[in-house]
Symmetry: C2
Amino acid sequence: MSSSNASRRNEASRRAILTAAFELVQEVGYAKLSIESIAARAGVGKQTIYRWWPSKGAVLFDAFLLMLGEQADTGEPALPDTGDLEADLKTVLRATIEELNDPRYDEPMRALNTEIVHDPALAALYSERLDGPMREMKKRRLRSAQRAGQLAEDLDLDVAVEMVWGPLLNRWLQRSGALTPEYADSLVETALSGLRPRH
Amino acid sequence: MSSSNASRRNEASRRAILTAAFELVQEVGYAKLSIESIAARAGVGKQTIYRWWPSKGAVLFDAFLLMLGEQADTGEPALPDTGDLEADLKTVLRATIEELNDPRYDEPMRALNTEIVHDPALAALYSERLDGPMREMKKRRLRSAQRAGQLAEDLDLDVAVEMVWGPLLNRWLQRSGALTPEYADSLVETALSGLRPRH
């Protein structure tokens, strides 16, 4: 077998494993997801999976990155920037809510979000490869608004990102309220204006 | 055995079980916590635990309530209300941060917060007995400020609660930044003033 054939076969196995993990976690939930079941569904040996990933959490994480990459295969990721920050943030949060309400993503995303709470190594990977780049992307959009005078000059952009996106993430994880387009709008308006009266 | 003796013994067993669960989750983490190990530590049979609780998540939840109850055994819970909302919220968030940084509570609280993500029955219990009452307590403080003209009249108080407390919860769960007193202050100031400039 030539080395390019081997690499093609490896790539095919890798995709089969990640696709199997992503399907299985939707079907049986994260607690019952096992390396055995992923291997069986993907048609590979368990050892193949253990050679490439240290844990089922790590497999799921890569499955997640693959899925996100195929969704948004369009160069440098960026939030919309029409010059109207409020409208742009509403667009983004409404789209996020649609995704969170999609049963195909719900269970895998829950699994990822809880796994990182208990697994510091996975949390570091998550921060480096997923949360970090997404946070940068959000901060770029806020920085552009700040330069345009639409955000307070002394604003801590990390706190600002957490204030717009944090409540949504919590409401979804804790199921503590409805995730509707109106909620997205209310969140953006409240974060931008603040809790105090504006006169 | 008289029925009052039996009830005292039941209460003693219940406390032993909950204390064992709370200690063990700190020592071994939630994933390795088992009904067997709780029973062994508490000196009771496994069946005693299964008779009273449907899952280890439910045991841990009651252990948590017991611990919180002993901390704050002072009647109707309420947030401080000195008339200065900003100062009061900073006091509360700084205290919360101290608690989240306490290694005795870190692991049990992480376990509870992730368990409810996957267990809708436990999430309902959590919402009814813990999150709901705490949310009401927070809303009472905000409503008092709203009546005093310190908060916008049309503010959605649920969104307001999520905006003040949500980012802190996320930063702790995801370990995405330092939990310092300065962060508490910045969070409160940003939520109250909003991201837009105030003139």
